[in-house]
Symmetry: C2
Subunit: 621 residues, 2 copies
């Protein structure tokens, strides 16, 4: 830092593609700080160092950071900038690697420091990599393969044609789209790899122009079939030219010498690449047309995801039954539980392992929303505690993500009420009917209201998009302010929760597809929308206080359970899982709707009943 005249250096948790999960080679924040959470930012000055992370990771960060580090319990860039301004005097340089920050994030830092007398300085030399030296892991060299046609929604040529059509129709007439997101390139060409844990993607960039396609990737890693597929249209506008991964900057610099306009997504393109393109040749939007096209699944992709969820439900049901038997004997701990659910998923057809590190948390550990157990320190599951597991699988036909919370003994009244209200939130959002083009952020409170009613809440978002054998957290779908409006064909998780620090944690997460709703009146414009829940695992009856549910909520639950029976029952039988089949039938018994009767009605019935008994005793007399 001194050699470069840098007074504060900002280190993010991301890689050059804004990937959520990163390879070991890109784990700079972890190497620097010791913190292993998936999201955070650190700043180092000559005499201070601090880490910012969100509420999911506060307790974890406290455990992992040593006393050299201050933990800052927020992720607002304004707060990072404030800290920097206290630590760095006017005239100082605040520096970062421009190839590790998105345009949007760079702009936020730039705005926050504006007029403060400190300079925000992009530095191409990465200071962490310099310090890391030979110890830094080397790049991946594993194979990159084509998805079989049975597992794709359309050919890569159709996808390219669709994107080019969007380019032509855009008022700015862009000549090229630059793809920095690893899932953008993987989706566009129906290719997959395993450079990053949990997400089947590979290091790459794509520059798709109106006349050519450049794919920046280590060419030798492509399978023969992949290579043949990409070159089948050569020469011509559907010929994919392979370029070295490291050549993207040089190529982009050269391309933008011409009379061109490059379309890119500022949420995940790095400031480094962005800076190469002259301002007047830029078409900036939050997300590229590939990102938004990918978010809306076509009928074939929807069917694939539905099918993956049926097999995924089998694995989760096997796990729930296994837990029911083993936990009371004290034979399961968080780590062995996580290993078991991972193994059950792997045994299912088309499995490619978990879609993220399994969260398996018992008792107070579940209060850490994203706790993952390690082999050394793992709590034993018990019938006296709640247990939360948030897990998912990668399958050739889809990506899954589901959370269930269970209790095998006697939950406390607060546990039962909180669980029931989290479930009510899940139901209320899942069964919501809303107009086309509604922003997720304007409806996510329906998942919170039942908790709010009694003064409770949760500190994380309510859902995220999910891919077809791609990222488990997929941009730009969800319920946050930077998500795009909901449209039919999008998949999102719905995952309210409740966490009581030092005591317990609850989360109920399902994946849902946005579908057209059948309404009594039809709008002249677009049809209204609702959700179809595709996760197919029943909730814990032991934790549901039926008296809190409205009859509409109970009816919704019963029809959801009916769907589970219809879709998962046959698959359990096909896999000859008779015990699981029986468990499913018991666990999806319809709930009595009448239990939601109002006090007045109950009183009236009591009156009638007592009148009846008077009369009956009269008869007997």
């Amino acid at each position: 830092m001194r050699a470069h005249g840098v007074h504060a250096y900002i280190v993010p948790s991301t890689d050059a593609h804004m990937s959520e999960y990163i390879s070991k080679r890109d784990a700079r924040l972890g190497w620097l700080t010791g913190f292993t959470g998936s999201a955070g930012t650190s700043v180092v000055t000559q005499d201070k160092a601090a880490l910012w992370t969100d509420s999911r990771y506060w307790t974890q960060a406290e455990r992992e950071l040593d006393c050299n580090w201050e933990l800052q319990r927020t992720t607002w860039i304004e707060s990072i900038a404030m800290w920097i301004m206290e630590a760095v005097p006017v005239g100082g340089n605040i520096s970062l690697d421009p190839f590790l920050f998105s345009v949007a994030t760079w702009n936020s830092y730039s705005q926050a420091l504006y007029g403060s007398g400190r300079t925000l300085l992009p530095l191409e030399t990465n200071l962490v990599d310099q310090a890391w030296g030979d110890q830094r892991p080397s790049p991946s060299s594993s194979k990159i393969y084509s998805l079989p046609a049975a597992f794709t929604g359309s050919s890569w040529q159709e996808k390219v044609a669709g994107i080019r059509q969007q380019m032509e129709q855009h008022v700015r007439r862009p000549t090229a789209v630059l793809l920095s997101g690893l899932e953008e390139t993987a989706w566009l060409f129906n290719l997959r790899g395993d450079d990053i844990p949990y997400n089947p993607v590979f290091y790459s960039y794509t520059l798709l122009t109106n006349t050519s396609i450049s794919l920046f990737v280590e060419g030798s890693r492509l399978s023969v079939a992949a290579r043949e597929s990409l070159s089948s249209g050569c020469p011509g506008p559907l010929c994919v030219e392979l370029q070295e991964y490291g050549q993207v900057s040089a190529h982009l610099r050269n391309y933008t010498l011409g009379n061109v306009t490059v379309w890119l997504g500022t949420e995940y393109t790095t400031y480094g690449l962005y800076g190469i393109i002259p301002q007047e040749k830029l078409l900036e939007e939050s997300y590229s047309p590939v990102m938004t096209a990918k978010a809306v699944k076509n009928a074939q992709e929807q069917e694939l995801l539905r099918a993956a969820h049926v097999r995924d439900a089998v694995a989760v049901i096997q796990y729930l039954l296994w837990l029911e038997k083993k936990v009371p004997q004290g034979q399961v701990d968080e780590f062995s539980g996580a290993q078991h659910i991972d193994a059950l998923r792997r045994a299912q057809q088309h499995s490619h392992g978990p879609s993220f590190q399994s969260i398996s948390a018992s008792g107070l550990n579940a209060a850490l929303a994203h706790y993952s157990p390690s082999n050394g320190s793992s709590r034993t599951l018990s019938a006296d505690e709640m247990y939360l597991f948030d897990t998912g699988g990668q399958y050739l036909d889809g990506t899954t993500d589901i959370t269930r919370t269970v209790h095998w003994g006697q939950p406390t009244p607060l546990q039962k009420e909180a669980y029931t209200r989290v479930l009510m939130g899940n139901i209320d959002l899942s069964r919501l009917v809303f107009p086309s083009n509604t922003a997720g952020r304007t409806v996510e409170s329906f998942a919170r209201r039942a908790l709010w009613d009694i003064g409770l809440n949760y500190g994380h978002g309510t859902g995220h998009g999910i891919g077809n054998f791609l990222s488990v957290h997929e941009w730009p779908v969800g319920f946050q302010s930077n998500n795009v409006p909901l449209a039919a064909g999008m998949f999102t998780s719905i995952e309210p929760g409740y966490y009581r620090d030092g005591e317990f944690g609850i989360r109920i997460e399902d994946i849902a597809l946005v579908v057209e709703a059948q309404t009594k009146y039809q709008s002249e414009e677009k049809p209204f929308l609702t959700f179809e829940v595709v996760s197919l695992v029943p909730y814990d009856r032991n934790l549901i206080d039926l008296s809190l549910l409205s009859s509409e909520q109970i009816q919704y639950l019963n029809s959801y359970y009916k769907k589970i029976r219809e879709r998962v029952g046959p698959e359990l039988q096909r896999q000859q899982l008779q015990e699981e089949y029986k468990w499913l039938q018991e666990s999806t018994e319809p709930f009595p709707v009448g239990s939601a009767v109002t006090t007045t009605a109950t009183t009236a019935m009591l009156a009638l009943t007592s009148l009846l008994s008077v009369l009956l005793s009269g008869l007997q007399a």
Copy 2:
């Protein structure tokens, strides 16, 4: 335009203070286009002209614009820019008066035109004013007066001290706050005037520094008491120095030569004034600290607003009873109705006339959300049609705004269902419990859900802040994306609706105070919030389908009606309005909660009842 080299000229509906209502002198858009709606933007080129306005005004604009004007049914600045880019070739100049556009709006235009090859050119000569010439009305010369102490929440000296404290505590240490909003200056000094219809404000600016106070206003217009109050602290930091209104730019230019930082609100400060201040001396936020302080009413201000609403309810109840008698005889039209409600309000104590132009709309006219009748063309009210009136009053102790929709005959099933669902939306948002610091936009969907359920919706916002004898639409409170988070002490309207073009319109609007909620569990941090409805007029029983309401909604209605009786009943008696008192008692009879009984319970009761009748017939036999 040709003389100034201007290819497109943008004319807004606002004045130099971003006032919602404007004086005749500032009605440039109306003079230019003939459109009399309160919000719109027009663009004129050499051979085309277009007007943009929101869905409230589409039908009205169609009627009022002649064939020279294109009506654009949106208000997105992107769409205005798109139109301009089609009309003006690359290299053209797009011009506007920088003293009539807020910083935020200027930035939006600037962004939308960025990189398009057209230049956005501020032009200090106003081209409309030039064309208007002597015909343009002259400035107001009426008196500006001090509010009596009984009608203020705190003295102006206390308010100034509070703002100066915020300046000291701000990390940027601003040395001054610039107030451009007319209600900012009026609120700060407890002064009122009548330069603008409906809003008791006067043309002014204020520059409040840490050591001095400059009030830019026509000094001769101040009442003796007002002048004495302002000069009571002279000389010293609580001495208000009077400056000419027109001197604000020159004064600001001079002040910002020094080592100063000026804090201002970009949502309503004009780009013209903003541009005077060097960038490094600016502290830009959406709203000034005066605007945000004004939004949170203290206990005294809350009591004043509550009291105004009691008397306002008396006027509205008088009107409803009068309508009940006169409408069946065909004796009321929209215009005479509006005149009557205005007169009833004026007869109440502390009245200063209506707080906006009364909306009085029968039948299909109510489908225009903001229709106002004129004397010439006014529909006769009838027992065969729905009638909507949205009216409010200015009182020394508060500003009111209320909408009721009524039907004196037989509503259609759709009318009744739609009305009931609008009411359910009003109730659901009004009784919502939510965490402190929740943004309005994340909860406003609760006012829409009952409509969404059957495929209906409405095209306007759900509410707005309201002042204490100030603006009826008060920044920055409300449910839109540019509103600040809800906090205890804020007042907002809650006003869902439903409009069927060419048929009818429904809106139910109440004013509500944000208050602390009593919840079963208490958060460690801030208490949860809810609303206390301060409008006190019952809804039309003839339009409520009780079977759609949940028992919670009915219980809420009953407790609201109880509050109306308790607060308005005594005032009706004090004013010796016996007939109205009787009407109120009848109109606020509790609804039977049992009607919300579930089907199952009803079936069970039917079974018991029939068993009973069998037994009874057995006894008789």
